[in-house]
C-alpha cells in the first residue's frame, strides 16, 4: 500500500483522516452525517409505516415523536396509544437514540417489567452494547411494539419507585443489566 500515493489517493486519505480526527470538525461532520441519515429515514417513514406505528412530529433533527399501538387484544394495552419520544445526538446513528415513553394527558406509560414509570425503557437494543447503526427509528418502534405485545405481566421493574426518585442519568448512560430475556 505504501509508496504509491497518487494525488487523488492522498486527497482521499487526508479527507478520511480528517473525518476520523476527534476535533471540532468531527462534530460538524457527524451532524451533517446525522442529518443525511435522518432525512433518509424520514423519507422512508413518509412512504409508509407498519400498522400500529404513526409519526407525530419530526420537524427537527433532535426530537421526534411517534405513537405506537398494540395490535392484538392484549388486555394490558387494549385501546391504548402510547407516545414515544426519540432524541438524536449529533453522533446518530453511531450512537443509539434516546427513546422514552411520554406521559401526558392523553398518553400513559405502558405497564411492563422493563419500562419504568417515568418512561425510561430497559431494552438492550437502545444501550451502547446492543445498538448498531443497522437499527433505525422504525425498527426500534417495531421492537417496542412487539415487546409490549408479548408481555403478560402487569408490573413495573423491581425497584421502580427508588429508580424514578433517584435517577438523574440520561437513559443511555444507565448501565442496565439485561437479566431477563423472557419478556
Amino acid at each position: 500500500m505504501g509508496g504509491t500515493f497518487t494525488s487523488s489517493n492522498l486527497d482521499q486519505t487526508l479527507r478520511v483522516s480528517y473525518q476520523l480526527l476527534p476535533t471540532e470538525g468531527t462534530s460538524a461532520w457527524s451532524s451533517r452525517f446525522q442529518a443525511k441519515r435522518l432525512g433518509k429515514e424520514l423519507q422512508k417513514i413518509n412512504n409508509g409505516l407498519p400498522p400500529g406505528i404513526e409519526l407525530v412530529k419530526a420537524d427537527n433533527l433532535e426530537d421526534w415523536l411517534l405513537d405506537i399501538r398494540v395490535l392484538d387484544n392484549n388486555p394490558l394495552y387494549l385501546n391504548q396509544t402510547y407516545r414515544l419520544k426519540f432524541k438524536f445526538s449529533s453522533t446518530y446513528p453511531i450512537e443509539p437514540p434516546e427513546v422514552t415513553f411520554v406521559k401526558d394527558t392523553d398518553h400513559a406509560i405502558p405497564m411492563h417489567p422493563h419500562i419504568y414509570s417515568n418512561g425510561i425503557i430497559c431494552l438492550d437494543l437502545l444501550g451502547q452494547q446492543g445498538w448498531s447503526p443497522v437499527q433505525n427509528v422504525e425498527s426500534v418502534c417495531m421492537s417496542l411494539q412487539s415487546m409490549l405485545t408479548g408481555n403478560t405481566k402487569d408490573e413495573r421493574p423491581p425497584g421502580d419507585e427508588e429508580f424514578v426518585r433517584a435517577n438523574r442519568l440520561r437513559p443511555k448512560d444507565i448501565d442496565f443489566y439485561y437479566h431477563d430475556n423472557t419478556v
Partner: protein, 543 residues
C-alpha cells in the same frame, strides 16, 4: 438530497434494496442509508458474506467510535446482520510498529528492572546498616581502619586503574560482608542453629587459613581470631546451657503449663541432676529419659546437636519474653506461642515436637477458655511474688495478709443470704495489685513477638556497645584503659570492639539467667494463684 427524488424513490420504499448482485444505483450503505448514486465518490465495501454493505468511511467511523466500548467487553467489530467479523486492515507503519515493539519489550523487562531496583535498594540499605553497626560496635576509627577508608581517600593517579587496585577490592568485599550483618542477625534469631552449624566449618577453615598465614593466636586476640573463634564460643555456651539448665527449664515449662511438676518446684541452683528428674512429673521423666539415657552412638550425638539447635531457638524466643517482662516490670500471665516453642524444644523428635505442640495448644486453649469462663462470675487473681524468694516448702506463706484476713468470712455470709440489687462495695474489695488481664488474641501476640524480635536482633550491635560501655565504666580502669607503655593492647577490654564483644556475651548470659529466673518466679506465682472472691451484693453484707 432534495434533488434525489425521482431516481431514488423506489429503492427506500421497497424493503430490501440490498442485493448481492446489485448493479449501480442499488447499493445502499446500512449506516448512512445513502445509495451509491448519491455518494459517487465514496467507495463501498463488502466486509461480510451477507447482503449488508456500507461505505468504507461510514464503517471506519462506526468502528473507531465504538472500539472503546467494545474493548471493555473484548468484542471485535462484526456485522450486525450476519455476525461475521469485520476485518480492518491497516497499512504497515514503522513508527507505530516501533512503538508497539518498545511497549512490549518494556512490559517484558520492567518486572526484572523493578526487582533489581528493590534488590539493589535493600543491598544498599543493609550495607548502610552494616557500616553503622560496625561503627557502633568497634568505634568509628577502628571501623574505618578495618575498611581501609584511609587508603581509599589517599588514592592518587599513580595507583593505576580502579579495578586493578587492591584497596578498592578490599573495601568492596568488606562492605559486602558488612551488608550481610543485618540479614545475618535476623537469620541468626529465626534459625540460630543453622547459623551456628554453617559457621563452625567456616570458622575452622578460617582458623586454618590464619595459621597458614603464620598468624598464630595470642592474647589478646586479633579481630580476625576473635571472629574466627566466636562461633565455637556460642556453640559451647549453648551446649553448656543445655547440659546444666536444660532439664530445669523443661521442668519449669511443665510447671507453667500446670503439669504435675508444678507441685514440687526446685531451687534453680539444684538444677540438672538426677534428683531433679525424679522430682519431675511422669511426663517430665519420660522426656528427660528420652534425652539423657541414650546410647552413645554418633547418631545420638547428632540428635543431641539437633536438640541444641532447637534449644537455642527456644532460648532466643524465651529471651524476648524475659525482655518483655523486664520492660513491663510485671510478670505476665502466659505467652502462649512462646510456650509452644519451648515445649517443641522439649519433645524428643520432630513427631513428638508436633504432637506436643498440638497438645499444648489444646491445653492452653482449655486454660484460656477456663479463665474466660471463670471471669463471668469471679476474677482470677494472680499474686505478684513481691517478697524475697519463696521457699519451696511454704508456698502459701505469701504477703497477702490484708485480704486473707477478711476473705474466708465473706463467702459464708454470701451463701447465707439472698442476692439483692443493693450495691455495696466493701473497702477490702479494691482492685488487687496484680490482676490477670484477659489474654490478648494470639495473632497480636505473635505479631508483637515477631516485631520485637526483629528489632532486638537489629539492635544487637547497639546493645553490645552499651554493655561494653557499662563494662568500661564499672571495671577497674587498669583493665579497660590502654597501657601507655605498650604499643599493642595488652587486654581484650582495652579496645572498643573487644568491650562490645565481651559486653554482648555478658548480655546474652544475663538475659538467659534472667529468663530462667523469671520463669522460676512464674512457677511460684502460678502455684499461689487463687480465685478471688467478691462479696455478694446482699442486704446483710451492706449493713
Amino acid at each position: 438530497m432534495a434533488s434525489s427524488s425521482p431516481a431514488q424513490n423506489p429503492a427506500p420504499s421497497a424493503p430490501p434494496p440490498l442485493q448481492r448482485t446489485s448493479t449501480a444505483g442499488t447499493h445502499q450503505c446500512w449506516i448512512c442509508l445513502q445509495s451509491d448514486t448519491e455518494t459517487p465518490d465514496q467507495p463501498f465495501v463488502n466486509p461480510c458474506p451477507c447482503t449488508l454493505e456500507a461505505h468504507q468511511s461510514c464503517l471506519l467511523t462506526w468502528i473507531s467510535e465504538s472500539e472503546r466500548s467494545w474493548a471493555t467487553k473484548s468484542k471485535t467489530p462484526q456485522c450486525p446482520g450476519c455476525k461475521a467479523p469485520i476485518i480492518v486492515e491497516e497499512p504497515y507503519d514503522s513508527v507505530l510498529e516501533l512503538r508497539a515493539g518498545l511497549n512490549r519489550g518494556l512490559a517484558r523487562v520492567s518486572p526484572y528492572v523493578l526487582l533489581a531496583l528493590v534488590m539493589s535498594g535493600s543491598a544498599v540499605g543493609s550495607g548502610w546498616y552494616g557500616l553503622l553497626s560496625a561503627h557502633i560496635f568497634a568505634g568509628p576509627e577502628a571501623a574505618s581502619r578495618w575498611l581501609g577508608l584511609g587508603s581509599l581517600i589517599g588514592r592518587t593517579g599513580r595507583d593505576g586503574p580502579l579495578w586493578r587496585w587492591a584497596p578498592f577490592w578490599t573495601f568492596t568485599i568488606k562492605t559486602w560482608m558488612l551488608s550481610c550483618v543485618g540479614p545475618g542477625l535476623l537469620v541468626w534469631r529465626v534459625i540460630p542453629g543453622l547459623g551456628n552449624l554453617l559457621l563452625v566449618p567456616v570458622s575452622l577453615l578460617s582458623a586454618g587459613m590464619l595459621v597458614a598465614r603464620d598468624d598464630m593466636p595470642r592474647w589478646p586476640p586479633s579481630p580476625a581470631w576473635a571472629a574466627t573463634l566466636f562461633p565455637l564460643v556460642t556453640l559451647t555456651y549453648n551446649n553448656l546451657y543445655y547440659e546444666y539448665f536444660g532439664s530445669l527449664e523443661k521442668k519449669l515449662n511443665l510447671a507453667i503449663r500446670g503439669r504435675p511438676a508444678a507441685e514440687d518446684p526446685v531451687e534453680p541452683g539444684q538444677a540438672g541432676g538426677a534428683a531433679a528428674e525424679n522430682a519431675g512429673g511422669r511426663e517430665g521423666i519420660d522426656h528427660a529419659q528420652d534425652h539423657d539415657h541414650h546410647d552413645l552412638s554418633i547418631w545420638t550425638h547428632l540428635w543431641n546437636l539437633g536438640h541444641t539447635v532447637v534449644d537455642v531457638f527456644r532460648d532466643h524466643h524465651a529471651g524476648e519474653e524475659g525482655d518483655a517482662v523486664l520492660v513491663d516490670g510485671a510478670v505476665r500471665a502466659e505467652g502462649i506461642e512462646i510456650e509452644i516453642e519451648m515445649d517443641a524444644g522439649d519433645a524428643a523428635g520432630l513427631i513428638d515436637m508436633l504432637g506436643d505442640a498440638v497438645e499444648v495448644l489444646d491445653e492452653d486453649e482449655d486454660d484460656e477458655e477456663q479463665e474466660h469462663r471463670d471471669q463471668g462470675d469471679v476474677e482470677v487473681e494472680e499474686r505478684d511474688v513481691a517478697g524475697p524468694v519463696v521457699l519451696p516448702g511454704a508456698p502459701t506463706a505469701e504477703p497477702t495478709q490484708p485480704e486473707q484476713g477478711n476473705l474466708p468470712a465473706q463467702p459464708q455470709v454470701a451463701a447465707a443470704v439472698e442476692p439483692a440489687p443493693a450495691p455495696a462495695p466493701a473497702p477490702n474489695n479494691l482492685p488487687a495489685p496484680a490482676q490477670v488481664a484477659p489474654a490478648a488474641p494470639r495473632e497480636t501476640n505473635l505479631f508483637r513477638g515477631i516485631v520485637s524480635g526483629v528489632v532486638l536482633s537489629l539492635l544487637h550491635p547497639t546493645i553490645c556497645f552499651g554493655m561494653g560501655e557499662v563494662l568500661r565504666w564499672t571495671l577497674p580502669r587498669s583493665w579497660t584503659a590502654p597501657r601507655s607503655w605498650a604499643r599493642t593492647p595488652t587486654g581484650l577490654l582495652q579496645q572498643q570492639w573487644g568491650r562490645s564483644l565481651v559486653g554482648g556475651c555478658v548480655y546474652v548470659v544475663l538475659r538467659d539467667a534472667f529468663k530462667l529466673y523469671a520463669k522460676y518466679r512464674q512457677v511460684q506465682v502460678k502455684t499461689n494463684r487463687k480465685i478471688k472472691s467478691v462479696p455478694r451484693r446482699t442486704v446483710e453484707a451492706s449493713s
